[in-house]
Subunit: 306 residues, 4 copies
C-alpha cells in the first residue's frame, strides 16, 4: 500500500497517547523548552511526492541526525580506508557518549554515529575543508532545496556550554593520535551541525539520496555512489539508533538515524525517505512516539527491509 | 541478475586465494581437523530451485547457525514477552563469549545469538519440551527435508569437554535468576545443537522460511508468522555475526548467521536463502572466504536489503 | 595505653547506636536469622592475655575471615611462585564477587581475599591434601586451642544452594586453566571453610601468629615464617576488606580481614590480635559497628601501623 | 639495626644489576633523556640525621611523588568531608590514567594518587589559593629547607604538550560536576607540581612529617595533625604505588609514593623517611631498582609496618 496523508494522520492520532510517557532532552535549556506535544511526519517518495501530517513543516533541532550528513560529506572527501581506519563500523553496545570502549579500543570509535565517531568525522572535515561549518550548511540547503535553513545559534552556544564530556572524548582520542585539530573549534563545528534546524519535510528531502542509490531525488545529483549509499544504510541499520538499533530493526525494519531533538529519519531503499518528530525520548534516547509512528507506518504500508 | 551455478563457481574461484589467510577454529580437535580447503556455496530460491557450487553437499558442523534455529523453535513455544524479558535484542559490541556485559546487565544477555543468549534459549526449550534435543533434530530434518541429518556426537562430546566458559556463563545467569534448569544437561543440549552436521544445500533449504515470510519453501508450512520472520531477520542483521555485524552489513547487506565451523547463512527476503562454507575464520570468528563470497554474490546478482 | 575490658566495654557502648544503620547479610537464611544486636570484641595479646567484652564468646559464621586461614595453610604446602603465579597481590577496586576483572585478566584473581582468589586457594588445597576439609578444621582447632570448633552444616549447605555465582567464577577460571579439580567438591570445601563457627576470643587466638612473627602465641609453634607473616599482613592491609581496604586503613590503620557474618580480625604486629563481631554490614560488606569499634580502639589505645 | 651509609652503599651495589631490565619513562623527551644509570638513596631519621649513598644529591623530576605534597596542602585548606566527597580512598585496581572507572563511578576518582584524583586536588588548590603554583613551590622549599628548589620548566612545558589524556580526565570530571576551574590552567599547575626537581636527600627531608606524626623533623613545624599523618600514610600504603601497591606492601612493607621519574619515597612511621631514585620503571610504572633497594633496606635494617 502507498502512504497517504490520511494514513499518516491516523498514525499520528494513534501514537499521540504516548506523549507524556517519554522525556524531553533537558541537558540544555534550548531543547528542554520545546513543547512535548509537537508531532509531525513526512514521507518523500523517490518520485518526488511529499506526503505529510502534523507539525511536518516546523523546524526543530536535528541533533545526531546530522551525523549521517557529516559522514556523507566526509565520504566525498576521503578514501574509504582513510575513514575506516579512524572509525569502526560496529554497534557499540553502550551509551552514545561512553568513554569506556573508546579507551579499551585505543581511541578508535566504534562507528560514526556515536558521539566519538561523529567527532572524528568533524575532525576530518576540519582537516580538508577551509570552512567546514559553512560547507555543511550549504550541503543541507542544497539537499533540501531550502535556502532558509540555518544553524540555531542559541542551541549551538548552549551545547558548547555543556561540552565537557564531548571535550573529554575528543582529548582522549587525541591522546591516541586519532584527532588532529584543536579540540574546541572542532567541537564548535560539531555542535553547529547538531544545531541545524530543519523540518520533517526538509529532512525527508535531504536524505532522499539514501533511498535512491545515492542520487538526490530533489536535485537529481549523485551525492554518493550506489555502493556508498548501501553502505551508509547498512551502518544506519546496525548503528543508527544508539543502543536501540536492534529494537528499532525488530520493530520498524528500516535503516534510520535519530536525534535527541526527537527527530528520526528512516529509509525504505528504492522507495521513500521518512522523517518523524516527537520530542519525548525513550530510555535509549530515541523519540518514543516517533519510533512507534514508524513502526505503525511500516506495518500499514507493508514496508520493511526484512 | 539471477544466480546461476556459473556465477557461483566463478565466485568460489575468486575467493579461493583467501584460503590460508584465516584460521580454522581449533578449540576442539573435531573442528581443527576439518581441511581448510573446503569451499561450498548453495542458493535456494523461493521458487524451490537449488543452485550450488563446490562442496555444497558436504556436511559440516553448523555451530552457531543453530542459534537461529533454536530461537525459531522457542518463538513457537513462548509469547514474545516471555522471550524478550530474558534476552535482549541489541548488538553486544563485545566478543561472543564475554561475561563482562552479562554481569553489568545482571544476567540478561544482549541478544539470542551470542553464547549467553543462546544458552538462555536452550534453557527455555528445556523447560517446555520433554525431549528438546530430539525436537531440534526433528525440526532440522523437517525443514531441510533430509531425514539423514544427525548430531555429530564426536563434536558434541568434545564441546562438552571444553565447556567451562559456557558453564560459567550459565551459572552467572542462574545467579541472576535467568536460568532455570540444571546447567550441564542444558549445555549438553546446546552443544548438540551446535554439533548439527548439515551441508550448504541443507542449510539453505532449512532457513528458506526466513526468505519467504515465515513459510518454508520446501515444505510449504508456516514455521513462524510473517512478522516473526521479519523480526528474526532484523535480529540477524544487527546481531547475527558476533562483533562483525556492522562490517557484514556494510559489505554484504543481508541478514545472516555465522558459525565457527565456517558456515554462513544469508537471507535475501522475498527471494532466496544462501549458505556458504569455508572453514577458515577472520578475527571476528566469521568465515573469511565465506564472507567474501557473499559480498561478491551480492554485487554480481545486485541484491542487498539496503 | 593497654587495652582493658573497661575500654572494650565502653567502645561497645559507644558503637551500639550504629545497630540499625547497616544490613545483616541475607543471601542465605542461616545468616539472615542472626540477631542484629549481637556485639562482641576480644583482644589477645602477644603475652597470651585475653581481654574481652560483649558477646565475645559466642560463635558466629566467620565467612571470609577463613580466607586468611586457607591462605596460611596453602603457604605451607606450596612455594611462593606456585601460589603467586595463580593469584595476584593487588587490590581489585571492584566488588568481591565480580567476574569482570577476572575475564579481563584471564582467570588470574587479583588477590587471595576476593572470592575468586580464595576459590583458587581452595583448589590448591584440594590438589595437595587428601582431606582438605578436615585439615582446615584441625588447623582452626589447633590454632584456637578449642577442640569443639565445628563447621556449621546448615550454613555450608545453604551456601551450596546459593553457589551459582561462585560456580561461575570457578568455571571461568577453569576455562583459563587456573582451576584444576572438579568445581562442586572444591566449592563445597570453600563453603565449609566460610561456615566455620568461631567466637571473637577463638578468632583472636587463632590469628595470633600474624601479630607474633608467624609464631602462634597460644601454641608456641611457628605456623609460618616471620617473612611470610609480614607478607600476609601486607596483603590483609591492602586487600583484606574487599573494596573498603583504603577506608579501613584510613580509619583503623591495622591489617584486617572481614567476613559477611559481621566478624573482623585486625592485627597490631608485635602486640596483639583483635576480633570484633556485629552482624550488620556497611555498603562494602564489612561490619558497620565492628569497623567503628576498631577505629575507636585504635584511637583509645593509640595503636596504628601508620 | 640502624641504617648506615655502608648499608646503603651495599644495597645500591646489590641492585645495580637490575639496570637494563626496566624502562625509562619516554612519553616526554625530558624524561627519556635521563641516564638510566642514575642511582641514589637517602634516609632521613626522625633525629635529623641524613644517611645517603649514590646520586642522592642530584635533583630529578619527582613526578607523582608531588601528589602526596599537594594532598597535604589541600588537607590544610579543606575540611575532610570537602576533600573525601570529591575523591575516594580506595585502590583503583587499574592503570593510573584510566578513564573507565572514572566514568562508571561518575567522575569521583578512586584516590588522590591516581592522575584523576591528583587533578581534582589541583582543582581544589586552584579554588582556594591565589597563586597555587608558587604556594606549592614555597611548600617544597620550606619542608626541604632548600630555597634553590625549582620547577623544571622544560619538563612542565613538555608535559603540557602531551596533556591530552589528562585533559580528557579533567573534562570528564567536569562533565560530572567534579571539576570547577578552567581545565588548562589547572593542568598547567598539575604539571608544574610533577616537574618539581628534587634530590633524594631533599625528598626525604620534605616528607619527614609523615614519619613524625605530622611534624616536620627539619623545621619542627606541625604540617598536619598526627591523625592526618596516619591517614596519609594509610592512603600511601593502599594506593601510593599505582596498581603495584599490594606487591610493594608485600615486598617492602612501608607506605610509599612513586613517580615515573624513578623516585620513590617510603615512610617508617616513628623512625625515618627514605627516598630512592633509579629511572628505569617496572610494568606498573614504579622504579624497578628503587623498589628492590627498598626491599633490601627493609630486610637489612629489619623495618616494616607489618
Amino acid at each position: 500500500m502507498k502512504p497517504t496523508s490520511e494514513i499518516l494522520t491516523n498514525i499520528l492520532d494513534d501514537v499521540r497517547h504516548l506523549i507524556g510517557q517519554g522525556k524531553v532532552a533537558d541537558y540544555i535549556p534550548a531543547l528542554a523548552e520545546v513543547p512535548n506535544t509537537k508531532l509531525g511526519i513526512a514521507v518523500y517518495t523517490n518520485q518526488g511526492e511529499v506526503i505529510k501530517a502534523g507539525d511536518a513543516d516546523e523546524g526543530f533541532s536535528i541533533q545526531s541526525i546530522s551525523k549521517a550528513l557529516s559522514l556523507t560529506l566526509a565520504m566525498g572527501l576521503y578514501q574509504p580506508d582513510e575513514i575506516w581506519s579512524r572509525v569502526g563500523k560496529e554497534p557499540s553496545g553502550q551509551a552514545f557518549n561512553s568513554l569506556i570502549q573508546l579507551e579499551v579500543e585505543q581511541g578508535i570509535p566504534r562507528n560514526p554515529f556515536i558521539n566519538a565517531g561523529a567527532i572524528v568525522v568533524a575532525d576530518m572535515l576540519s582537516s580538508r575543508l577551509s570552512a567546514p561549518r559553512q560547507r555543511l550548511l550549504d550541503f543541507a540547503r542544497q539537499l533540501s532545496g531550502e535556502q532558509h535553513i540555518l544553524y540555531d545559534k542559541v542551541v549551538a552556544a548552549s551545547e558548547m556550554m555543556h561540552s565537557d564530556r564531548n571535550a573529554a572524548i575528543a582529548y582522549l582520542m587525541r591522546s591516541f593520535g586519532n584527532f588532529h585539530n584543536d579540540v574546541l573549534p572542532v567541537l564548535n563545528n560539531y555542535f553547529h551541525a547538531c544545531a541545524l534546524k530543519m523540518s520533517c519535510v526538509e529532512l525527508a528531502k535531504t536524505f532522499s539520496y539514501l533511498a535512491n542509490k545515492g542520487v538526490s531525488v530533489h536535485t537529481g545529483e549523485e551525492i554518493i555512489s550506489p555502493t556508498q549509499s548501501k553502505q551508509v544504510n547498512a551502518l544506519l541499520a546496525t548503528c543508527g539508533l544508539y543502543d536501540g538499533a536492534g529494537e528499532f530493526a525488530y520493530r520498524v525494519g528500516m535503516p534510520g538515524k535519530s536525534g535527541v531533538g526527537g527527530g528520526i529519519v528512516a529509509i525504505v531503499p528504492g522507495e521513500m525517505t521518512i522523517a518523524v518528530w516527537s520530542p519525548e525520548l525513550d530510555a535509549s534516547g530515541n523519540s518514543l512516539a516517533g519510533t512507534r509512528a514508524l513502526e505503525l507506518l511500516a506495518q500499514r504500508i507493508g514496508r520493511s527491509i526484512f
